[in-house]
């Protein structure tokens, strides 16, 4: 159900390691819960991010939501296309709806995150709660 080429956080972000850079977005579950994202506040390149720190803000018609970083690092890029098309996060959360790229400080930053199967179980337990 969830893509297997990314890892997942308990706060419903996904992270993908490519060439030493980690791309971060929110999961399809999170984007459906928020529904209709209409505004995105992106970080600046060079911003320092703490592990678990908020680095972006998403607003839907209903609510405001923060995006948290699974690891410490420095922002290496942000998806500026979202400023004109925030709905991409709803439409393609794992593709064109990515939010930012991070240069991680740690060499094995994704090891502590959930794989698709574990995340699926985690979402089911949250739904039941």
């Amino acid at each position: 159900m969830y893509p297997t080429d990314v890892r997942y956080t308990k706060t419903h972000e996904w992270a993908r390691l490519e060439d030493g850079m980690v791309t971060i977005g929110i999961t399809s579950y999170a984007s459906e819960e928020l529904s209709d994202i209409v505004y995105v506040e992106l970080p600046d390149v060079g911003d320092t991010v703490e592990e678990g720190g908020a680095f972006a803000t998403l607003e839907s018609v209903k609510a405001v939501s923060e995006v948290y970083s699974p690891m410490a690092g420095v922002i290496g890029g942000a998806n500026l296309q979202l400023q004109d098309e925030p709905g991409l996060i709803n439409e393609e959360p794992y593709g064109k709806g990515w939010i930012a790229k991070l240069k991680p400080g740690d060499t094995a930053p994704l090891d502590d995150l959930m794989d698709a199967e574990a995340y699926d179980k985690y979402v089911e337990s949250e739904r039941g709660a």
């Binding site: 529904s35 209709d36 209409v38 505004y39 506040e41 018609v61 209903k62 405001v64």
Partner: protein
Amino acid sequence: MELLLTPLHREHLALGAKMIPFDGFDMPVQYTGIIDEHMAVRERVGLFDVSHMGEIELHGKDAVRFTDYLVPNYVAGMRDGDIKYTQLCYPHGGQVDDIFVYKVSDEYVLLVVNASPEYSVKDFAWIHSHREGFDVTVSNRSIDYGQVALQGPMSPALLEPLFHGPVSAAELGRFKFVKGTIFNCDVLVSRTGYTGEDGFEIYGDAADIVTIWRGLLQAGKDYDIKPIGLGARDTLRFEVCYWLYGNDIDENTNPLETGQGWTVKFEKDDFIGKAALLEAKQRGLTRKLVGLHVPTGGIARTGMEVKKDGRTVGRITSGNYCPSLKKVYAMAMIDLPHTDVGNSLAVGIRGRDVPAELVEMPFIVPFNKR
């Protein structure tokens, strides 16, 4: 407190709606998506469960005279089948609620009030406590009524063949109501709504409302009808700047400062709040409800501060992304010196002051004024 359920609760669950607590009820906030539902009503037709709204019946020789005492708008001149928008005011001029008066006959007035916990007991208790000296009985019928709203440009065409009454649905005038039947159920149908589009509100027996809901969704398939949740109900009313009680108006705002002044008739005999409202008018207003366009920086939401040169001059009462305009607007209660259209103000959003331009309300012109 346990949430109340409308008679349509199981329909919402079956349709996969996301449910939220609202005014003491467990209500659908969306079925497919707020923007999708919003556009369905602007462009075609949508069906809302508004059974949470309250219905209070006034019966007796003094039903009309009593209503005239309760509200600032004229009731005595209303003809049978007329509807008027007005308020219930406190003696200090603030609002108990904003309501619709349905004149059924000289001895029967129906008041449609906002939902509140325990089936609109707040409005009922207020009205009931003032009946002394009037030949009137006050009945809270909120639990007995089911109500759906059929809204959107295609709603007259959809309802026309389904409704049987002394006047056809399409010919029913704006702010008029009539009794008749739909799917063999007795209903009261009014040409009213909370969306800025043409449409109807249909009141029936709570036991019949599932039949009516299902029938309208089935018959509406030809028009690509959608069930609409409270999320889109809010964005639809917001674009046309219809007030939301509890946000834009409340016990601390009088109808003169909110743009509801056209409903206050000082020529009338005494009504609750008249002296305070007259005094407020003579003293001069100190603040006003205005519209803001917020081009950048996010959504200005209820309670956020509005500033001029760094100084707080008011607060956001409602703010949202407007799906039809694809822009962020807000309604705000602002100190009078800063309320001219074109004024540059700022809104504090997440610790940052972002620009806001004071603009005319409404943001979208309602269908009947286009």
